[in-house]
Symmetry: C2
Subunit: 675 residues, 2 copies
């Protein structure tokens, strides 16, 4: 077939032609032009997409992608509105937030223990005021409500019913299946065969497994490297003389580290994409479909790990294994594990998340997607020019459609588009508790994204071969998976990363007057500076201008004057229990609520099945009617047959008269003809 | 229609007739007889049921019930095998179980605080030896594994794929839907209308809500009553002089209380059944289906609460709000809350569960199901006899089939059968962690149950009108719900009711030499008897033969000699945190595993859809073929028509010759007739 001819290089390429040019004054009207005007320009971002036309022109699969993208973007609107409200609530309440007020209070000067050995000195709590205030923006009760909302949004939102929003697809699919099924059946058999003969391809699988594990290890190693960079950077800056530098060590370190992370992520994304493709090739899957699914699975796994590892680190591991003053934990015997800001790690998580998400979107999606194709186009154009410098002008004139299209990019599949959106969906749902504005940014990005992809498909790509599709396939399962993961991760973020639970515990277990006054003091343990291991005490203890006996650090431990000093205290266990209890409540609440929503809102699958039935019925009726007509005609004809052997009918022997004398017209005419 | 005639009492009853008698020597062979011999007798309990025949004779719905019952019973086999193994493991390890050994050890005589005020005196730990040893049978590591297993079993087991085990149903259903759909469509519309006009029936809904809440309150009140009975009974027995009585107070009290519970449950079950029916009647649902569903929902809710409330109490509330010596919690100012046995509440939970489950099965299912119908039959028989004493003998001889069947019970629907099984499924899954033998007893019960129901349907009921059914309907959702509930409940039973977590915590946090030695001592707090509130101290403190300064009680509290004595201790919070962590791990582990199983084992739905497609294809092919045949015949006929106007065909003008001279025979005959 054509594929083999292409493989043998007999043909350079095979592709359907575009309807015609999409711009220029003397261009007759065509679908492509219509799409370009009605769909592929930013001016119409507020309009619904002409999905039918897209499907008609590009085929069902691509139509489905854009339909899904549209639905997803639409769903982001409520999410981002709620997110904005939550953020504004944070801004509004930042001034009556007692903990941050206490931290900023100069009068109660709490002396904190040094953040690094020797070089760092003691520091005043109030110097972390800004962080504390900022972290309140994301670490307030509204966030809890928001993450419940988003967990439901993630679990319910994309659970099929929105994909099904455009029932025409399903209907059409079901109708076409009737003709197509036999082929499908055989294909299914094939895939079965593939499953059966998996032993033959064991080495390939082994290679896959090994290399995937290796690449995940690489990712982890890089993240570790960045951590070490951060630690040493902090130590270095701490030695810096100018107070301005030292005052915002944390910000600079975090920011630079995150940017490094970002660059690494973007580079590795490309690398991993290629590797995944290569790995899938050596697997030699039998059908196109299984190839795509295996590729997607690998690519997703790698890119997911790549994108989220640094965020997971900040959310759940940073500052947990610090140890305590006088007995710190060291990695490689020299680097002391880094702590979180006094305002909690949530702030850093937020910075991490926002920079990576926005950076990824801006650089990867938009710059790459606009820049690279344009460049490629230019290169091809120049090459062409070099080939035919003389009669270039008129050759352009005389160009045939297929020649023009040949200069366009070939269609490379929807996987990158989907992948981009899925990773974004992850950013929006997984850690939303720490960054309520994520949906908003996602929304803005997608509004551009839709038109960008549209432009690409209309103007820069060869027309893809129309492919039939029932739904978004494996992506749907991945979305479901992320939705489930989001519930548990948000539960952990709120209970372990944010200070929500400690505040509650303080309020109901320890607070004297039922207010948050004294909370900050309660979260800090005391350390007697005389207990520093030798060589770890700060070099200039008088940096703050007075001598320090007791410094404070953020942990729940016994004070120096208790009999078993620096042991984990009762409060620690109480808070831990509260955190875990919250996780259980949160998770089961969300699960119950989403089941309830499922139960209240009858979801599409039912409708689909009804659709199927309806179609069956219609089809059957149709057949029945046709059959009846035929039957009638046949009967009338058979009758005539009978009459040939019978005597002509008259009132003498009425029994011989065929009942159907008052039959359909033709039989009459014919009857008359005989007499 | 017939229904209105029945309503107006024109007819006494309308029912399909049985095929004939099922026993007696001179009976011609018939399906009923066959069913009676091959299906409805205990002799064939090991055989598969002849589901096809059942479906053919009783209709699809009843066939489906028996198919489901069969599948469920089959599934109980592995469950009960594992359960037996777990139980045997418990029996085998009871002697090297250090905690129970320590409790039974006479040498270290631990003096426990009195179990009730005044009348009860101090008692020796070793006197609870039996309980401790017994509780190990169910409270051992194997139980944890078992409850994971059962949680998966419950979640996966009945998730559709086993119901679908008998694909004939689905296939047949799908095929019949084609003819039936139109009616269905209209019915759907009706139900929609019902949904719309819910406002009109608001009072009915209100009545429902109020009375359901009321009945649930009644259930709770009864349980509370039983608790008070238990408390006062214990106090009364404690005053008893004979040591033999006092040694096994706990057993007697628990046993009697449980039996009271059991009786109440069985009685209320009947009452609630009627009430649910009445409530659904006043709701006036529009379709038969919605009536059934509403009834089932209500009945299930009430019976569920009724059956499980006492068990929930023992599992999660008993002994949690006891207070501490010197500061006990009292209800109604006079009854001190009861504590759990030193071996943990799991033992009592096990007793509760086993007695209620077995008692319910034996009394309700079998006695009621065999006894009541037999009695009714007898009564009807006697009544009949009284009506026609003289020529009774020959009247029996001359009896027509419909007369014979009239004496049988009318078919009352499958709801009770299903309900019984669902409640049993609840017993098997919800608290399996505390009673590994539950599946075994369920299995034994069901093996009898199947044949019992079969007998009933074949011999004692009028032949029911065949009803078409796709699946077990709302029952499936209820099963799913119980499956989900089972996961979380088992997690809580293991972590909070059993001593599994405290043991682990002791082993890894406190144990000196990495063994369980000293665990019992660690779980007991000390109380200084001088701190008893006045009037609560035991009357004869010297009951044990020596004077007591310090008595022990099961709780994690500060000792009398610490500065804040009797406060909740650090250990308490540590253990609590561990328990909660376990719940999270357990729940998510099971969820993940069941998703994984889903992913690995492709479930039936796919097969169904393929089935549907296959059928569509076949149908279409069939129609096509028929059409073609007809088309052919028509063409030949049309041809003949044409020939009428045409000149007869000969070799002069061959173009006029119809190609189909070699056509079907009739056309030839006809042709000849014309010439």
């Amino acid at each position: 077939g054509i594929t083999s001819l292409l493989a043998n290089g007999v043909y350079a390429a095979a592709y359907p032609l575009h309807d015609g040019d999409y711009e220029g004054e003397n261009v007759e009207f065509n679908d492509r032009k219509l799409l370009y005007e009605e769909w592929a320009c930013y001016g119409v971002f507020y309009k619904y997409q002409p999905i039918d036309l897209v499907r008609k022109y590009f085929g069902e699969k691509i139509g489905l992608y854009f339909a899904w993208l549209g639905v997803y973007t639409q769903m982001l609107i409520p999410a981002s509105i709620v997110g904005i409200i939550v953020f504004l609530y944070g801004c509004a309440t930042v001034d009556e937030n007692i903990p941050s007020m206490e931290m900023c209070d100069q009068r109660q000067n709490i002396t904190m223990c040094p953040l690094c050995d020797k070089t760092c000195s003691y520091w005043k709590m109030s110097s972390a005021c800004a962080t504390a205030r900022a972290s309140h923006l994301f670490d307030n009760p509204a966030t809890v409500f928001f993450s419940v909302f988003m967990a439901l949004w993630g679990k319910q939102g994309l659970s099929g019913k929105n994909i099904g929003d455009d029932p025409r697809f399903i209907a059409e699919y079901e109708a076409r299946v009737l003709e197509k099924s036999l082929k499908k059946e055989s294909k299914n058999k094939e895939t079965d065969k593939v499953k059966l003969t998996w032993r033959d391809r064991f080495p390939a699988y082994l290679t896959n497994l090994v290399s995937i594990i290796f690449m995940i290890a690489v990712t982890f190693a890089i993240v570790l490297g960045v951590i070490i960079y951060r630690i040493s950077m902090a130590a270095a800056l701490a030695m810096n003389s100018s107070p301005s530098v030292r005052s915002n060590i944390r910000v600079t370190v975090t920011a630079t580290a995150v940017i490094i992370n970002l660059v690494v992520i973007i580079l590795l994304d490309e690398v991993y994409g290629c590797i995944a493709r290569w790995l899938t090739k050596i697997e030699v899957p039998k059908t196109e479909k299984s190839f795509e699914e295996r590729l997607i699975f690998k690519a997703f796994l790698l890119k997911f790990v790549n994108s989220y590892t640094p965020i997971f680190y900040v959310a759940f591991f940073k500052g947990r294994f610090v140890g305590r003053p006088g007995d710190y934990v060291y990695i490689f015997r020299s680097f002391r594990m880094e702590e979180c800001a006094p305002g909690g790690c949530l702030m850093e998580l937020c910075i991490q998340l926002s920079i990576i998400m926005l950076g990824k979107q801006l650089i990867q999606n938009n710059l790459f997607e606009i820049g690279i194709p344009k460049m490629k186009k230019l290169i091809r154009y120049l090459k062409l020019k070099r080939q035919s410098p003389p009669d270039h002008e008129e050759c352009v004139k005389r160009k045939q459609r297929y020649e023009v299209d040949y200069n366009l990019e070939p269609f490379a599949g929807l996987t990158p588009e989907y992948m981009e959106m899925i990773i974004q969906f992850g950013f929006v749902t997984l850690f939303v508790a720490s960054f309520p504005l994520a949906p908003l940014f996602a929304l803005l990005n997608n509004i551009i994204e839709i038109r960008l992809d549209a432009k690409k498909f209309v103007t820069e790509l060869r027309r893809p071969v129309a492919v039939r599709a029932k739904d978004i396939g494996i992506w749907y399962n991945i979305l479901r998976g992320i939705g489930k993961l989001a519930v548990i991760i948000n539960a952990f973020v709120i209970s372990f990363t944010s200070d929500f639970i400690p505040r509650l515990v303080y309020l109901y277990m320890y607070s004297k007057n039922g207010t948050m006054h004294g909370f900050v003091n309660h979260t800090l343990s005391s350390f007697n500076v005389s207990d520093f291991q030798n060589g770890t005490a700060p070099n200039d203890p008088l940096d703050l201008g007075y001598e320090v006996q007791i410094c404070r650090y953020k942990d729940y431990r016994e004070p120096p004057w208790s009999e078993n000093k620096y042991d984990i205290s009762k409060d620690f266990w109480a808070v831990l229990a509260a955190r875990l209890a919250f996780v259980i409540v949160f998770q089961n609440l969300v699960m119950f609520m989403s089941d309830f929503v499922d139960w209240v809102i009858p979801d599409i699958p039912k409708d689909i099945s009804q659709q199927i039935h309806k179609e069956k019925v219609l089809m059957v009726e149709l057949f029945m009617r046709e059959e009846q007509d035929k039957q009638q005609l046949l009967e009338t004809w058979m009758e005539k047959e009978r009459q040939k052997e019978e005597p002509p009918c008259n009132h003498h022997n009425p029994k011989a008269c065929p009942d159907s004398l008052s039959g359909p017209a033709p039989s009459h005419a014919y009857h008359g003809g005989v007499l």
